[in-house]
């Protein structure tokens, strides 16, 4: 049984709709400390909306979200920001600040959250974080000079530079070639182990999920349709899951 105090994220009966279209309908889930939860689902099933509700970028229509036991809907912006300092968020497109170099992208949250740190400490931290994502050489580059995979790595470096306790990944491997996507997945796993972070990963990428996931959920028709470990999901006899995880339907059509 999961101890209540080990729960980092608790989502309770969360609902969200847009212009009458229900995207999430009474979702309930818990994520425990140092766990990697993977969220699967087809496009438009509310995976990213779930992450954005957890971080407070979107306000749920109904339901509660607790982070480390605190109901985020009751918090004022300053209190919410205090919680956000402990959360990293990797956006699908990395969302690097175009007008800043890689160095400044990384220094930006660091200087604001840790004003007491000396320049030397900040520079060391930036260097060390870039080493973690193996991109020390990109320090002076602008985001426009980086490839898709490099952007994701720098986005990841910027998210972890403040040593967050919880990481939220919105499709970390989408749009990358299979090798880079495996590298990013392994990197996420290594970082999680090294920094003992809790992670929620929204993805379509089965290989990424196999590498990262401790547990997975599958969102379908605004609800959690399946929950369990990744092997259970892949080997499920449910026709929908089979369709999602295998090439069966495609190969049948091709015959």
């Amino acid at each position: 049984m999961v101890m209540a105090d080990s729960r980092v994220v608790e989502v309770n009966k969360l609902s969200k709709s847009f212009d009458g279209h229900v995207v999430l309908n009474g979702i309930t889930l818990n994520v425990t400390r140092a766990e990697n939860l993977v969220v699967f689902g087809q496009s438009g099933t509310g995976k990213s909306v779930l992450l954005k509700c957890i971080i407070g970028l979107m306000i749920p229509d109904n339901g509660k979200i607790f982070i480390n036991g605190q109901d985020i809907s009751l918090l004022k912006i300053n209190e919410l920001n205090r919680i956000r300092k402990n959360i990293g968020f990797l956006f699908q497109g990395a969302a690097l600040y175009d007008s800043m170099s890689v160095h400044d992208n990384l220094a930006f949250p660091l200087k604001r959250h840790f004003p007491e740190r000396s320049n030397e400490e900040i520079e060391n931290k930036i260097k060390h974080t870039l080493e973690l994502v193996s991109l020390e050489d990109a320090i002076n580059k602008m985001p426009s000079e980086l490839s898709g995979g490099m952007k994701k790595r720098i986005g990841l470096a910027r998210s972890i530079i403040t040593d967050p306790e919880l990481m939220l990944y919105d499709e970390p491997t989408t749009g990358l070639d299979p090798i880079t996507s495996k590298e990013i997945s392994v990197l996420i796993l290594n970082l999680q182990k090294k920094l003992n972070m809790t992670s929620i990963v929204v993805t379509h990428d089965l290989i990424c999920a196999e590498i990262i996931a401790d547990r997975a959920i599958f969102l379908r028709e605004a609800n959690i349709a399946f929950e369990g470990n990744i092997e259970k999901l892949i080997n499920s006899n449910d026709p929908f899951l089979k369709n999602f995880f295998s090439h069966e339907v495609i190969s049948q059509e091709n015959k």
Partner: protein, 269 residues
């Protein structure tokens, strides 16, 4: 801060247009209130304000110089025959300088500034919005409104009066060149005539209103960019509507401010 969503689409009904009008009005009001709430709270992001003043202001100097010069030149060229016909050729320096100081300098500079800067801010913030950079700032517990909007609005409010004063000087010089092409006039005579015709009371309201125009340019550009949606189409829309709306508001506020000025200082009329 809750901003009403604007309805976009290819087939909007009249009720949608009416809704959008009031949504923009209320959105701008909310944005305006938020600016004053945030502007006086630390951190003040002085380095960022200075950077924007440099980027938005200094780079507009070239276009403002050309515009200012042409306004003064054309105004003097157009007015000269008429003034001479009515036997008021000597009043030409005074007429040019008064027109430029009171109205043309500030308003034309503000309109050029709106075209150059408001569209730039709209496009930049719009692109940051659609690529989730503003969201990234928000989830990093950094106030994007303070960092992106407040700094830009302060920068535009501070830089436009400087540009307007500069444009006025250039326009008056342009006026001199137009006069001197057709008839001999010493610069000293022109300068004395200009200084004599402009009272302090002419100069202050003309320049003071450029603070309001600068504020409008920054606020409208930021509002349109900050609320952009719909990918690259949304960025383009933010950029275009920023120019249209800020230019329109500049002219409307010019009318209001001229009325207020004349009401407060009736001798100026």
């Amino acid at each position: 801060m809750h901003l009403p969503r604007i309805r976009y689409g290819r087939r909007l009904s009249y009720s949608d247009y009416i809704y959008n009008f009031f949504a923009t009005l209320s959105g701008l009001t909310v944005f305006n209130i938020e600016f004053f709430k945030q502007a006086f709270k630390p951190p003040f992001e002085v380095a960022e304000i200075r950077k924007h003043m440099d980027e938005l202001g200094v780079k507009t100097f070239g276009i403002v110089s050309i515009t200012g010069f042409i306004i003064g030149l054309v105004l003097a060229m157009q007015s000269q025959p008429v003034m001479v016909r009515f036997g008021a050729g000597d009043s030409l320096p005074g007429m040019v300088s008064l027109s430029v100081v009171r109205e043309l300098g500030p308003v034309i500079t503000a309109l050029i500034f709106a075209g150059r800067v408001s569209s730039g801010i709209g496009a930049e913030l719009g692109s940051m919005r659609v690529t989730e950079q503003i969201d990234a700032m928000e989830v990093s517990a950094i106030n994007p409104f303070k960092y992106l909007v407040v700094t830009r609005v302060i920068a535009t409010t501070m830089i436009l009066p400087i540009l307007a004063i500069y444009a006025i000087i250039i326009a008056i010089l342009g006026g001199y060149i137009a006069i001197v092409i057709t008839e001999p006039m010493s610069f000293e005579y022109y300068r004395t005539a200009v200084v004599k015709s402009i009272a302090f009371g002419d100069f202050i309201p003309g320049v003071a209103k450029t603070f309001v125009f600068g504020y409008i340019v920054g606020l409208v550009g930021s509002y349109k960019g900050y609320t952009a949606e719909g990918g690259t189409e949304g960025v383009g829309r933010a950029s275009t509507t920023s120019v249209v709306l800020s230019s329109l508001l500049i002219l409307i506020f010019d009318m209001i401010l001229v009325k207020i000025t004349l009401w407060l200082w009736p001798t100026l009329g």
